[in-house]
């Protein structure tokens, strides 16, 4: 269970305004909204990468906001995260990138590491890519390596920031299907940020809509599809006419 209470954050101008949200355990939650709506910032607030101005975040009953960096390190072990720009370490091979979180959690047995890395690469259909460097991969391949790294620790909560941004429609759908399959297998709690609303709705259990820093909608995928709220309706159905 991830709970967010009255979260607010401003940089130059307000990015999040009084956002409250609850994501139950084992749920695949889709966070949607137009550009610059505060989606990435909200995601980063959940793991303490961004410190909110007001409000609280609790993960499985433990309050994350206000923890110091050392305590946050412990909390973050429960999480896996895929970053918007993948954030692969460009000086490490693909295999070492995926092994990195495991090494940091104290796994030192090289055979076990190699096995778990190979298993992850098979899951994202990149078997045998261990010794490649990230710079030589295509956009879709980098994304999939990012997914492999985010899921390698079998974290109970996984955050995906724009898992399909900049990819062609076929590759995007494959990525979304892969993430859904991963979630079913591990029964992890997943929060997925995307502006690719059509494909996202094919995999989510619940959906939240963030607009100009405010959470305008929070409900099941079916409720989102039939919502009468003008902004939600316009965004979900991709209409040109409307308040957006």
């Amino acid at each position: 269970m991830i709970e967010v209470h009255g979260l607010s954050k401003s940089f130059a101008e307000p990015v999040l305004r009084d956002v409250s949200l609850a994501v139950p355990r084992g749920c695949l939650f889709g966070l949607v909204g137009p550009g610059a709506a505060g989606k990435s910032v909200l995601l980063k607030c959940l793991v303490g990468l961004v410190t909110p101005d007001r409000g609280a975040v609790t993960v499985e009953g433990e309050t994350v906001t206000g923890l110091d960096e050392l305590a946050l390190q412990r909390v973050r072990r429960r999480f896996g995260m895929l970053f918007q720009n993948n954030a692969l370490f460009d000086y490490l091979t693909v295999g070492e990138n995926i092994a990195f979180p495991l090494r940091r959690m104290g796994v030192t047995d090289e055979a076990e590491l190699a096995e778990r890395v190979a298993d992850r690469l098979r899951a994202v259909s990149l078997a045998g890519f261990e010794s490649r460097m990230p710079a030589g991969l295509s956009g879709g391949q980098k994304k999939r390596v990012g997914v492999a790294r985010a899921t390698v620790t079998r974290a109970e909560i996984v955050l995906y920031d724009e898992p399909a941004a900049g990819l062609d429609p076929v590759t995007s759908q494959k990525i979304f299907d892969l993430l859904r399959r991963e979630q079913r297998e591990t029964n992890a709690t997943v929060i997925m940020v995307s502006s690719d609303i059509d494909r996202l709705l094919t995999v989510t259990d619940r959906v939240g809509l963030l607009h100009k820093g405010e959470l305008l909608f929070d409900g099941t995928t079916d409720e989102a599809r039939s919502s009468r709220h003008p902004v939600v309706k316009q965004f979900i159905h991709g209409e040109v006419e409307g308040p957006l």
Partner: protein, 274 residues
């Protein structure tokens, strides 16, 4: 004092008005000092207690040495020639005797200029390099990814460079000082007919000079990676942000060298009455 701003403030987003500006600047300065202090204490903490990244410090030593030895030799060589030339001309105005030229130059080099000008150059070369590398990792979210894996970026990115800088700053400055002295001796010999044996005169050098010089090497070597790493970690935005961070690293670490120079020189002056 815009130079001392926290890297996390946005220059574009300020309310107008002089009082608001001054207040904002003061708050920025406090925030900047706090975040710099935090980077410094974490660097020291991890250096003394933390698990070391195997080989990372050695790699950093190699990089610092390799990227700056040529640059440092050229600039310090020219400094040696300029100073000897200038002071010989000055001395000849007063007395036609250049026998103490080398001794005076050597004392000044050991006591101050070798370490201080050399460190200004290292702040430019090494400081900018550190900020550019770390800044690029910040904007591509690699630093966030490190934090998500339970790694303190200070330990992983700054500490190896800190250890390397402590060692290499001393090594490079001694080398560059020797180059500078050699270039000075050549200038004195070719332009003013001062024999090399006369120039190589250590009679004015004492324990205090050497201690002050070494203290400066250590202080500058510690300050440059901490200040420029702090600037790199505070990078905001895309490629422009990396450019900004690099600029800040050069200016702030040069400024750190100048301020430390003043403090150590003054302390040395009071501690070692010649």
């Amino acid at each position: 004092m815009s130079e001392l701003e926290a890297p996390t403030t946005d220059e574009a987003a300020r309310p107008a008005g002089f009082v608001a500006d001054v207040g904002r600047e003061a708050l920025d300065l406090v925030a900047a000092a706090r975040s710099l202090w935090s980077v410094l204490t974490r660097t020291l903490h991890w250096t003394l207690r933390g698990p070391a990244e195997p080989g990372a410090a050695v790699q950093a030593c190699y990089e610092i040495g390799n990227q700056s030895v040529f640059f440092l030799s050229v600039t310090m060589g020219f400094i040696g020639m300029i100073l000897v030339f200038q002071s010989a001309l000055q001395a000849l105005r007063v007395v036609p005797d250049l026998t103490m030229l080398g001794a005076t130059f050597l004392e000044l080099l050991v006591r101050d200029l070798g370490a201080s000008i050399g460190a200004m150059m290292l702040a430019t070369r090494v400081g900018a390099g550190i900020a550019a590398e770390i800044g690029s990792m910040v904007v591509t979210e690699q630093v966030d990814a490190l934090r998500m894996c339970g790694v303190d970026p200070v330990n992983y990115l700054i500490v190896p460079r800190f250890k390397a800088s402590l060692i290499m700053t001393g090594v490079l400055i001694i080398w560059a000082g020797a180059v500078s002295f050699g270039a000075g001796a050549a200038t004195a010999y070719f332009l003013f007919d001062v024999p090399v044996n006369t120039f190589m005169n250590t009679s004015l050098l004492d324990r205090g000079d050497v201690l002050i010089g070494l203290a400066k090497c250590v202080a500058y070597g510690a300050a440059i990676p901490v200040v420029s790493g702090w600037c790199g970690l505070g990078t905001l935005g895309g490629s422009e942000g990396v450019g900004w961070a690099t600029t800040r690293a050069v200016v702030n670490s040069s400024l750190a060298v100048i301020v430390l120079n003043f403090l150590i020189s003054s302390a040395g002056f009071l501690l070692f009455p010649t």
